[in-house]
């Protein structure tokens, strides 16, 4: 039956090994249902320590004032907003994977979407800390909310990009959380059903919202997923666009740049995918999920990285071109003196950014490199360093020497509390991630089952028997099946 012999070379299996549905459930539920490993404990405790450091850092800053950071009269934003933009950017990969790839029916997303979505939520949580605690009077932070009040004519300023941020980030967080949680429902129900202890049953029972797996539930679930995917898709583009407006709508050379929205979005996806790589490479190893998060996933994501990295690179070059071509002296100075010039105080940060974001990802043009796990891990770290510096370069190197040379600032380096705050968000992020990996299935069980059968390997196995059949028998067995 050579005619029917079909073996896809173009589409390698999405899940490795010959798994059946039960095996999938077992594999993914195992980390949730067994005691955490020593490695988990070590990681978790380090995260909690970092989180505590962060809490202390923020407390000190709230009590004594923003002067606990080394910002100054010229550099009003430094590590705080750099970290904010960095974390928001990181979140983007999760949304892209869960929403846009869902709409585009990219089957491979199911292996990584759960963890990526969780990452999005935690990253946005971390990001949110910075605009909140960077306020001089954080106890009045509620002023940014447009609610009826007794303060007379004072109302929020809808002209302010910072206010747009408030809406953008809160919407983003809400939609991402809903999306993530609604995806979790069937899996929580699975865990509930498998639970052997009372508290587990109760906990997952409540969390699963009474999911029974009925067709009606599935239908609604699918519909909701589509709606949320539809809502999230514009968010992937809009959130970072709005974040970029903080800078793009200003008058500061280096900030006032119309290319920012697409440039920021590409950068966000770039850094997000790098972060997904970092996390998943560790997760798959620690939780022994290599069969589900396969080398194929890693390769695909590396492709996204080289694509978005190159887009970002083009954006950098476009900026430089515009700085030169526009002949605006201040803009020219911001780019060619503050950034490109290695002898300028922050020149190094620009080149670090260029090296990490534009040059180094180019090695992913080579398949061998894309499939090298160690290299991928290294590169993912490099990209995140690079993307952090991108934001630092944009924020600090633009304002530290802008229009009036009299106000050019002294060298800015972070204080211990600024570093502590940043470390603290790592603590928050990883504490959440470790808890997530312990209590929730890091891979969407229900969703991965959809694509299990799309594995060429199992298809081939099933076909072997058919292939060996006599042609008459085949005709007999199959010809009436459908008509009957």
């Amino acid at each position: 039956m050579a005619l029917l012999r079909y073996e896809s070379q173009a589409r390698p299996p999405l899940v490795d090994g010959s798994k059946d549905y039960h095996q999938v459930t077992e594999d993914i539920c195992r980390p949730v249902e067994t005691k955490p490993s020593k490695l988990w404990w070590v990681g978790f405790l380090i995260s909690v320590v970092l989180l505590i450091f962060g809490i202390i850092s923020v407390a000190v800053e709230v009590i004594y004032g923003t002067g606990q950071w080394n910002l100054n009269k010229t550099i009003g934003w430094g590590w705080d907003i750099t970290n904010f933009v960095w974390w928001v950017g990181i979140g983007h990969a999760g949304t892209l994977i869960s929403a846009i790839l869902l709409l585009f029916r990219q089957g491979w997303r199911t292996g990584v979407n759960r963890a990526a979505e969780a990452m999005t939520i935690f990253a946005v949580m971390c990001a949110g800390q910075f605009p909140i605690w960077h306020m001089g009077r954080v106890w009045d932070a509620f002023f940014v909310l447009p609610y009826p009040n007794t303060r007379g004519p004072l109302w929020v300023n809808f002209n302010s990009p910072l206010l747009w941020d408030v809406f953008a980030i809160s919407t983003y967080f809400t939609v991402s959380l809903l999306f993530w949680y609604s995806g979790l429902l069937p899996d929580l129900a699975t865990l509930r059903d498998r639970a052997k202890v009372k508290w587990r049953k109760f906990f997952y029972g409540v969390a699963a919202f009474g999911w029974t797996g009925s067709t009606k539930h599935w239908q609604r679930h699918e519909a909701l997923s589509l709606v949320l995917a539809g809502l999230s898709t514009p968010l992937v583009l809009s959130v970072h666009t709005i974040v970029s407006f903080d800078f793009a709508t200003s008058v500061i050379p280096g900030w006032h740049t119309t290319i920012f929205p697409p440039y920021f979005v590409a950068g966000a996806i770039f850094s997000g995918f790098a972060m997904v790589q970092t996390l998943l490479l560790v997760t798959r190893k620690v939780l022994a999920l290599e069969d589900y998060i396969t080398i194929e996933h890693i390769e695909v994501m590396n492709k996204v990285i080289v694509l978005t990295g190159s887009i970002v690179g083009i954006a950098y070059l476009t900026e430089l071109f515009m700085a030169w071509y526009s002949a605006v002296p201040a803009e020219n100075f911001a780019f060619f003196e503050n950034r490109l010039n290695l002898n300028s105080p922050y020149g190094w940060s620009y080149w670090l950014m260029m090296g990490c974001n534009v040059l180094s990802p180019q090695i992913f043009w080579f398949r061998k490199m894309r499939r090298n796990i160690l290299l991928t891990f290294f590169m993912s770290i490099l990209v995140n360093i690079g993307m952090w510096f991108e934001r630092f370069v944009i924020i600090v190197t633009s304002i530290y020497r802008d229009y009036l040379p009299s106000s050019w600032s002294t060298y800015y380096s972070p204080s211990i509390w600024e570093i502590g705050f940043y470390m603290g968000t790592f603590g928050l992020f990883f504490t959440c991630y470790f808890l997530f990996a312990k209590f929730f299935p890091v891979i969407a069980i229900a969703e991965i089952k959809h694509i299990l059968k799309k594995n060429g390997e199992s298809y081939k196995n099933n076909m072997t028997e058919v292939e060996q059949e006599e042609i008459n028998k085949f005709g007999h067995d199959h010809s009436h099946d459908h008509g009957a």
Partner: protein, 837 residues
Amino acid sequence: MLQANEASGFGRKLPSYQFDAAKVIVSLDADFLGNWMNPVENGVGYGKGRKIDEKNPQMSKHYQFEGHLSTTGANADERFTHRPSETGAVALALLAAINGSVSAPSIADAKLKAGIEKAAADLKTHNGAGLVVSGSNDVNVQIVVNAINAAIGAYGSTINWGVTSNYRQGVDKRVSDLLSQMEAGQVGALLIADANPVYTYFDGERFGKALAKVKLTVSFSERLDETTALCQYSVPTHHFLESWGDAEPKSGLVSFMQPTIHPLFKTRQWQTSLLKWSGNDTTYETYLRNYWSGKIGSVELFEESLSRGIWETPGTVSAGAYSGGALANAANAISAAPKVSGAEIVLYQKVSIGAGAGASNPWLQELPDPISKACWGNYALISMKMAKELLGLDLVNGSEKSKNNYEYYPQKPVIKIAIGEKSVELPVLVIPGMNENTIAVAVGYGRADSLGKTAAGIGANVYPFAKLNGETVSYSNAVEITDMKRKEKIAQMQIHNSYEGRLDVVRETTLATFKQRPTEILDARNHLKEAYGGKEGDFRKEGTLYGVHANPGLKWGMNIDMNACYGCGACVVACHAENNVPVVGKNEVLRYHDMHWLRIDRYFVSDKENPDDLKGVVFQPMMCQHCDNAPCENVCPVAATNHSSEGINQMAYNRCIGTRYCANNCPYKVRRFNWADYTGADSFKNNQDQQTVGKLNDVVFQMNDELTRMVLNPDVTVRSRGVMEKCSFCVQRTQAAKLQAKKENRPLLDGEAKTACQQACAGDAIIFGNVNDPNTQISKVREENPQRSFLVLEQLHVLPNVTYLAKVRNTDEIIPGKGHHAKPATEHAGAEEGAHH
């Protein structure tokens, strides 16, 4: 000078100097805008001569010969440097070039020589309209200067002997004589008031020891200064604001002082003490009233004078009677003076600290020096050449990296300055315009701890480096210098010295260039307006997406004449005091957290190849520009900063949540954030004791204590930490003036509302008022000066309400139009920015 004037036949007196009448001013090391004679009076006259009528551009010409860059030197049209020890030779050479009555000493420096000749020629052409002043404390030098002034017809025209100046009457010799008598045990009792010789006398240590040999020493002082500490009795006197007093700063001009506040402590005015001890039981107030009522004629007349503050009997203009008898000897003495080689120190007084009297005033300590822009401490100013030779720090041809590092890090190399046993270690600041061998260090620092939290512990006392030169004290001396190979921080509020040719920031030109191309600035501005609004359109409206504010009725505006501003910084202190601007102390200034609402940007214009050769200095007072299309207003998420119907960009402190977005987006960088609880006004208790980061100096606590808080202006809110603040155009004053007018049921008059900076400006550089009324001073100034008017960063279309008048240096140099002033950079910038909108 007193002795020199006596020798020249004028008597032991000081004349009045009419800087406004002088067309050519030559200053030999006299910082007449900083601390020489009465700088305020000099500044007023000088300012008048520097203002330009655009239709007939003319201004006085100012030559300065000096060793280090002084505030006055910074304003000179042409400036030449020499060793401090050469000042006599320069004076002599100038006299020789004017009339040849003495033989000229050899001046090795060709540029200096040419400068002297040029100044001499200029003085000769403007006979009767020239003025030569010298800051030298050497009798012989002053005798030569008197001869020059006689030769150029200054007496009776720019120097008036009819009205004498009485600010200074001391003669150094009397102090040294007193000291010898004290040491010899010939002095039975010494009463000291308003003086601190243990600190300010060059050999203060000797004075201190001699005090011990006097049987009775009494010090009347406000605080425990260095001298008081060594006296047997300290009799605390009133603060000057608690005191009665009289003074005759100039003959015929009697000024009366009355207390503005009841004595806060159990103090007694020292004059009252003297009266009491002499058996007269009246208070000084009664004594003063009785004396002057009798003198003026009646109690009523005295009361009237007291309320006016002055009692005047007009003086006459007199040329005095010059006699040149002492000239020959003086000239010989100068010629015979030994030449100094190697480094020379010159001691100067900062405008803020003076001889040391301002050291315990936090506002003055926090006022950056006009030249160095540094505060809270003294340091050694040195030339680029000396930096290269001594420290290996090449700021001219060195690597870009090393230059940047020197600029960006507050840690500066420390040198040791020594004469014999005496030595101090000070960090250096390399600035242009220094004589290559001169080290300039400010006096007034290195004070005793007992003087209070402000003065204690900053800088070093350099008075011991002065020396007795014959009978007078010379404030320059030859010194040994060594590189200490370590660094110390200098708190500077501005670190970059050049305006980088940014014509959108600073417009400065020379008189010759201005005459040749008077409409250059105007043309550029019109071009910019066209880029925004086309030939017919309203560029204000067309240039922005946002609406245009309607300002019916009042619209406040300010104009700053950069030609009249000489950078003293009085406005900065006035603003500080008026608006309850917190003092942040050295630690916080070092972290660039200074809070000044108004600052004076200082830019050096110097030759890139040879920065020691300074062409000019630009002072640009910079405060909130109250933009009509303000970039700060639209970025605030909570609308805490918004526009008033009178065109003021205002802050609602209670609404501010402290995102600092407004400050980032302010192209003028005039917004100031309360980084810490500087005022103690925060709702958090005990949050000023931070240790790890941002430890506050004691002075901050001093400013917060119950007593010192009495300086706060009750009309202005004290801001808590975490909020943004900035210049408000003294809104409390405009409100008060409006209220007054309303109560009197009349329209507000021009000049009724004055900003604090405007009021403090001796040079009359700042004008403030209603721009909607064409008859106000501000409207007229803008109307009359279209060719020098410019807006800083006009191309951004933020529509500032502060106009500036371009600085003009009175030189013949023609600044090339193409590639410099006519460079279309700003116009292009505008067009490009316009396209973005």
